[in-house]
Amino acid sequence: MQTNFRLNGHQVKLHCDPTERLTYALRERLNLTGTKVGCNAGDCGACTVIIDGDACCACLVGVGQIDGSEITTVEGLFDESSISGLQQEFLENGAAQCGICIPGMLVSAAALIGKNKTPTRKEVEHAIGGVLCRCTGYSKIISSILNFTGKKTKTHKNSAVSSKVIGRSLQRIDGQDKVTGIDKFGADDFPADALLARVVRSPYNHADFNIGDLVLYKKENPGIVCVLTARDIPGENCFGVIPEFADQPILAETRTRYPGEGIAVVVGHKKTIGKLDLNEFPVKWNILEPVNTMEQAQADGASLLHQNRKNNILTQGYVKRGNIEKGFKNSKYIAQGSFTTPFIEHAYIEPEAGYAIRKNNRIEIHGCTQAPYMNRDSIARIMGLPATSVRVIPTSCGGGFGSKLDLSYHPYIALAAWTLDRPVGILYSRQESMQSTTKRHPSDIEIEIGCDPCGKISALKFEGNFNTGAYASWGPTVANRVPVHASGPYKIPNYMARSRAIHTTTPNSGAFRGFGVPQTAIALETTLSELASAAGIDELDFRLLNCLRNGDPTVTGQSFETGVGIKTCLEAIKPKWKKAIKSASSFNKNTINPVDRRGVGIASCWYGCGNTSMSNPSTIRVGLTKNSQIVLHQGATDIGQGSNTVITQILADAIGASVDCIELVGADTDITPDAGKTSASRQTFITGGAAALAGMELRRQILRYANAGEDAQLIKKGTSLYIKNRSNLNKVDLSHLPANQFGYVLMAEETYDPPTTPLDENGQGNPYAVYGYGVHLVELTVDIELGKICIDHITAAHDVGRAINPNLIEGQIEGGIAQGIGLALMEEYKPFQTENLHDYLIPTSGDIPKIDTIIIEEPDWVSPHGAKGLGEHVLIPTAPAILNAIRYATGATVRDLPATPDKVFRAIQKAKNTNE
């Protein structure tokens, strides 16, 4: 059928199935990939377009329905020569992190402005209420729209006139593409002739299976080019992010262990394969007794998921210091609690996607990832190829938060493209993404803390079980990090913390911003507040009394001479805390409104940057071409957190040149040296460290060659390099220098690996070279009749060592807090029940309060540039601070997350009954 409509001002004719979703037609037929697909169900708004003046989800519109309509997509919001004012505001404010939601945000904002030239903040929140963003916490998006419509809010103009760029809020180097919709994500750039792969998955928690007649299946479905099963894997059918624990098959052989586990890959032509109903795949299932809870997994006689792992325990972590019994004996006050948290889904807006292409005897993977080098090495093992035969070229990554560290879609397309010698792409559906990729570990935690009569903590005991799901993934990392961090940033003389990662036949738990530490902090920080109350000490003063200071030993016996910033953070929050308490208590005295009760809560965090007690180097290469171009080979994948920008800033200052002299070569395993994974809050700290070293080295080489003094400035004009010494400007003649194999006349390649030591059997040692610290203050209102929480305001203080780019830091904090709010109040992933963004709720623009950020720069001399990581720290204190505020408001203690209205309500009733 033919449909006629106007698209971005041009008349368009389409011949296609009129029930085809408009998203598909725009992306596949008209090549307009600015309209994104995050769910195909109206739940994410990434596909928002304007139809006859109204914002609509293109995924819910059939092509036939737009006959005669006028459509505007993000591509129609600006003309190619100039960037529109709205997009300029997005760029200047740093509204885009990963950028996948931004087209939907821009289009929604444009639709609003089309009807209302001067919207209020509430109207803006409402207009983007249907577009989910998982990265930013919405603040900068809202203020960009308000700025554009004339309500100037705070902006980050680069006011500093110094020649240095560290400390300045530079715009994202990769920002332009993110605010125009031309940025290419995993699903956006398949070769035209690419086939499509789809994965057949287990619908059961635990089952054995037999695959039926594939020859017949192919015959009945002519669109299928091939079906691949475990037998077709040329190398090892096993992967895992930690080699010693690798246990996960790429495709299960005879048994599946979690719902969504892959058993076969069906490859074929895009049009037919996309519509194939995989429920008809020939397979016989024999359902096995599931082991779905940690209790079941630990029970006597429980069936083992992996024969060599006794009691279904993957691994344990343990840290012990002092004498715990004695510590509790000397305690005047003791507080304790049992806590549970559920699976949390990363819910990035970009479902996994990418394509693979075979080039002779090499295989190339283009797609979203957080860990290109690790992916390359795993794929090489799976394919039975040397690592040099695999190239991973990350596309932009529409959010990762830990889950895109693990392999997911990559081996399927590698295998298919290799076997067929044709490009093969894959697009996970939202359900598939939620079912089959990793989650935050559910936890069961018992904690007990004692203090002496003055409030000094004398003992802490912690036992935590973490449901690690069917396969290892990052379970060992969680088990190792948790007992180290369960003390929080406090001085605790007598300490015992144990953690276990336990297998069940549920989704794999892996890395999610904080590796188990957010769950741990919920138990620790709420119990600490209860202990402070028991001892009759102000919650903040109690933390100040006990917090670590420079030189104090941590629970692993490590002490830092510099950089322990927790005290500074607490002191920075203190005046706001006092004020908030005063205003809440005067509000609560007012009995005219018996329904609402105000609450105030705080919580702290600490978090070790980099891998635990392991070498985790990053390498940066920087070269100078004959044409005076400085080229930065930066392999740290920017998943929205800003490493492209931050690493360039660090390098610019180290070289002593301006940012625009530097050309950035992004992550690509062939052309950038290994900068490790984007995880563990390590990129600014470690890759940044390598950039500082490489920059200093290149500078030394240039100055030596030019025979210039230490304080000389490098200036690039056209294709010439000049050295400025006081008032002398001398051209550096590079033309006689020979170029090396990389094409550079001068080059530096430096590695930074932070100093750590292994932990002994009692968990004593130096697991991290630095920790970052933070404190959140939450003010909220509890509707005590319904148990509903409204968060009114959050203040966050974070010690970052050195703030390389304050605006990016703010963005991280606001985004982390949004995820913390989700963790506290609404998020719970239940296999089979919440496998979509309709039932799995993440915060919308209306759920995030105003957030004030205080950046603390506690001097620290460990890394070459003084900066610490931040990416994970930011979400750790939010949830416990919220729970503490609920307790302040109502006396209710919610220990089973999320604190949904019904649970808060029940806790309020319980608190009332115990008081009466």
Binding site: M1, D17, P18, T19, R21, N40, A41, G42, D43, G45, T48, I51, D54, A55, C56, C57, C59, L60, V61, G62, G64, Q65, D67, S108, A111, H126, A127, G129, G130, V131, G274, K275, L276, D277, L278, N279, E785, L786, K788, L825, M826, E828, K830, Q833, T834, H838, D839, L841, P843, T844, S845, G846, D847, T900, P901, D902, F905, R906
Partner: protein, 282 residues
């Protein structure tokens, strides 16, 4: 097969010819597509321009079947429609309100359909048309259960009729969900109150959704608060009055909580009705 007729006669004869699935705004139909996409006949009624918009006659307000949630704001309506307007502003997101139709919401017959309680309190009726003619059915009879209606396969809902004699008083709507936008109700209530000069409740209509297979009017509450002031009414409402509900425990909330929240929400909705009254009085 796909058809997008421009007039209702054509639509009806098409519908009579075979098994067709009606497509209006698509906000329920598209998300519910199974793997494999559309493998049934689609009768797209979105081009039936006559079915969009709200008209007024001597005795009725008539909401055309293609009227979207966002369209509601375009026609000035009596205060008794406030509940429907408020519900409309809380359906999903702006994107959903711009396409989703009120009639589609009723036809989809989800227990949590936000459109049902506000129309129950207005005693709305539906016109079902087919090549055999028109039937008019009260909304309370139209929805027969979870995703079940009394619509025959050959019928289209043409419009929703609201009798003006039920348009007295103010109405209000309250929705309880676990986040601000795009959230399915844990409980929602709609209430319409006529308050007489002595500040007493002359007549009321109250309905609750998401607490039973289909949203319900609450005659027991209506009877209990008749003749009372709002303050007295608030004191009167107790758990007995919601005993006729039969809420589920599901991912959104447990059954007991829904019972309790339903009572609270009724009270709040009454207070909101009163507030609207006060605003108009001032």
């Amino acid at each position: 097969m796909y058809a997008r007729p421009k007039n209702i006669e054509e639509a009806l004869s098409t519908l009579a010819s075979d098994n067709w699935k009606v497509l209006a705004g698509g906000t329920d139909l598209f998300p519910n597509l199974k793997e494999g996409g559309v493998n049934f006949n689609i009768l797209d009624i979105s081009a039936l321009a006559d079915l969009r918009g709200i008209k007024e006659t001597q005795a009725e307000w008539i909401i055309g079947a293609l009227t979207t949630w966002a369209d509601l704001e375009k026609t000035p309506l009596p205060r008794s429609f406030n509940a429907l307007l408020q519900a409309g502003k809380e359906v999903g997101s702006i994107q959903i309100q711009n396409r989703g139709t009120i009639a589609g919401n009723l036809c989809n017959a989800s227990p949590a359909a936000d459109g049902v309680p506000p129309l129950l309190i207005l005693e709305a009726k539906l016109d079902l048309v087919s090549t055999h003619g028109t039937r008019t059915i009260p909304l309370s009879k139209f929805i027969k259960g979870n995703r079940k209606t009394s619509r025959r396969m050959d019928e289209i809902v043409k419009c929703i009729r609201v009798p003006k004699k039920k348009c007295f008083g103010n109405s209000a709507f309250s929705k309880l969900g676990a986040r601000e936008y795009m959230v399915i109700s844990i409980v929602m209530t709609a209430a319409r109150l006529e308050i007489c000069q002595q500040n007493r409740i002359r007549e009321s209509a109250i309905a609750i959704g998401a607490c039973s297979e289909t949203a319900q009017r609450m005659p027991s509450v209506e009877a209990a608060i008749k003749g009372k002031s709002i303050e007295e009414a608030l004191g009167t409402i107790s758990s007995e009055h919601v005993a006729s509900l039969d809420p589920l425990s599901d991912i959104r909330a447990p059954r007991e909580y829904r019972f309790y929240a339903a009572q609270q929400l009724i009270k709040r909705t009454l207070i909101n009705c009163q507030k609207i009254e006060d605003n108009y009085a001032n």
